[in-house]
């Protein structure tokens, strides 16, 4: 019993430490002072209203939202279709295609970013929203494929057969039988893709032009020049928004399951 308490105490401290950035950022965003301070001095909303005077943050916020939404939807559609093929049909080369679908995960983002820049420059879409979107779809596909494959691994395909035998149209079978059973996996794939895109810096870094900058990149650039409470207030907005999606993810699928931790092990 005593051992659990020691481990519990260490765990508690480490939980505080990994959450310390947020515990510090949110209070310091309400400071009344003109400089960054923790603990904050006084209370004021002024750093929040100041965000509205900075078009680079507003514009990049909308770019990020648009980018994350579109790339999440498209990566989910593409990844889900591929996962269905990989799970349902055993065909020659399916192992290779599976490995290929997951391979962007094994290559550092830095290399993905640089190689996309080199190629996109050749074909003339470097610095465009399209290029950025394509790269974000790429980095999200592996997560969707992996999650949907896991969701389908326990799917009984005789259910589909039964549907066909009863005369249902293939689309109807998919919509009414297959899809509902893997909906949590697909939904969590989509939310996770949204967060992956919304947080990404290292790939975007190489692909943005001044008018397509994403929010994390805008914060990144701003931070390298100035450190003021404005970074804290804009960060707090992002933290809050991310938190909504994290809670959604926990409710829809569960973080333990998402990260492959089997909670029923013993």
């Amino acid at each position: 019993m005593k051992k659990i308490n020691v481990l519990g105490l260490i765990t508690f401290i480490i939980i505080i430490l990994v959450n310390l950035p947020f515990l510090v950022i949110i209070p310091s965003s309400f400071t009344a002072a003109g400089y960054l301070a923790f603990p904050p001095e006084g209370f004021s909303w002024k750093w929040y209203s100041m965000i509205l005077d900075r078009p680079e943050f507003i514009d990049s916020f909308w770019t990020s939202i648009k980018l994350a939404t579109l790339s999440a939807i498209l990566a989910t559609v593409l990844g889900t279709l591929a996962a269905f093929a990989l799970s349902k049909y055993k065909f020659r080369g399916s192992g290779f295609i599976n490995a290929l679908m997951l391979s962007p995960l094994t290559v550092p983002s830095l290399i993905i970013g640089i190689s996309a820049l080199l190629f996109f420059t050749r074909i003339g879409i470097a610095g465009t929203f399209t290029g950025l979107l394509l790269a974000h779809i790429l980095i999200s596909i592996p997560y969707v494929v992996r999650l949907v494959l896991t969701g389908l691994s326990s799917f009984d395909y005789t259910l589909e057969k039964a549907g066909y035998m009863l005369g249902a149209h293939p689309f109807r079978v998919f919509w009414d039988i297959t899809l509902p059973l893997v909906r949590p996996a697909i939904a969590s794939g989509m939310i996770f893709s949204f967060l992956t895109s919304f947080d990404n810096v290292t790939v975007s870094l190489f692909l943005v032009a001044p008018d397509t900058t994403t929010l994390p990149l805008a914060i990144f650039s701003y931070m390298q020049e100035t450190l003021d409470p404005l970074v804290a207030s804009i960060s707090s907005v992002v933290i809050l928004l991310s938190l909504v999606f994290i809670i959604l993810l926990e409710k829809v699928y569960g973080l333990e399951r998402l990260f492959g931790l089997n909670s029923q092990s013993h």
Partner: protein, 280 residues
């Protein structure tokens, strides 16, 4: 619809993205890394790396920072994973959530939080000065220590996940057996738990090492100009100096050295285990 057609139609869209945004660009990048200024085939970008100690020093710094990060995440992550393995039901869920959730929030923001804590006028320094424990602020940021702190925060979740996965699979009755046979808690830990969690340790350390080697954001934000690592150097070559072939070569050299080091490490561990098994 034939099977073949279904497979093609279902996988084609994702494969097109993978080919067009990943496979072809990577091949192009590899090709470019072997080009000189006249666009002729050349090994000079790679040769430069080994001739100039400037690059080797930066590589060594990248490796050093990554090794410290591995050590820190292992030492801090192990107790957490052990606690998770021993905890039941709700408690385990809460701890998992508290460790994993921050990981889903942008690294730029987490690094910013650490800057507020560790900076010259940060929380720690202000507190220590106010308490009269130090007179001049400690340098906790814009050096290797700062980068290691930032990377540890970024990657500890991966370490905990890898360790927890292997700790969960240890049969708890083994611990009971050891204690019935009279082993102390420490003895049980070192003779039962630790050896059985070795696969998790290998997986976690390998993953954190690879991620730290190629990390860009944290060294840029928490290392400043004084802690230049290979990813930052590659970025500068690509975006500022516009020497794309050299930048591409640097990125591949980084990937190559990571792969070599990781495979040496896993070989070493396998050999050691092999000997242990057959020596006893």
């Amino acid at each position: 619809m034939s099977r073949r057609l279904s497979v093609t139609l279902l996988t084609a869209p994702a494969l097109i993205v993978l080919l067009g945004v990943f496979v072809i660009p990577m091949l192009l990048m590899l090709l470019l890394s072997f080009q000189d200024a006249q666009q002729a085939f050349s090994l000079e970008n790679y040769a430069l790396f080994f001739q100039d100690t400037f690059y080797l020093e930066i590589l060594w710094r990248t490796i050093r920072v990554s090794l410290w990060t591995v050590l820190a995440t292992l030492l801090l992550g192990y107790p957490v994973a052990m606690f998770m393995a021993q905890a039941t039901g709700k408690m385990r869920g809460i701890v998992t959530m508290c460790i994993l959730a921050p990981h889903l929030i942008s690294v730029v923001i987490r690094n910013f939080g650490w800057v507020v804590v560790l900076g010259e006028k940060g929380w720690i320094n202000e507190t220590l000065i106010a308490l009269g424990m130090i007179e001049t602020p400690l340098r906790l940021l814009y050096n290797e220590l700062g980068v290691v702190i930032g990377l540890t925060d970024s990657f500890i979740a991966y370490m905990v996940l890898a360790l927890a996965t292997s700790l969960y699979s240890i049969d708890p009755s083994l611990n009971k057996a050891a204690s019935i046979l009279g082993a102390s808690r420490a003895r049980t830990f070192f003779s039962v738990t630790l050896p059985l969690s070795l696969p998790g340790i290998v997986a976690g350390t390998t993953l954190v090492f690879s991620l730290s080697m190629s990390a860009f954001v944290t060294p840029a934000l928490m290392g400043g100009t004084s802690v230049k690592v290979i990813p930052v150097l590659a970025y500068e070559q690509i975006m500022s100096t516009l020497n794309w072939p050299l930048g591409a070569a640097l990125a591949f050299l980084l990937l190559g050295s990571t792969i070599v080091l990781v495979s040496l490490y896993t070989k070493l561990i396998e050999n050691k285990r092999y000997k242990e098994v057959f020596a006893s």
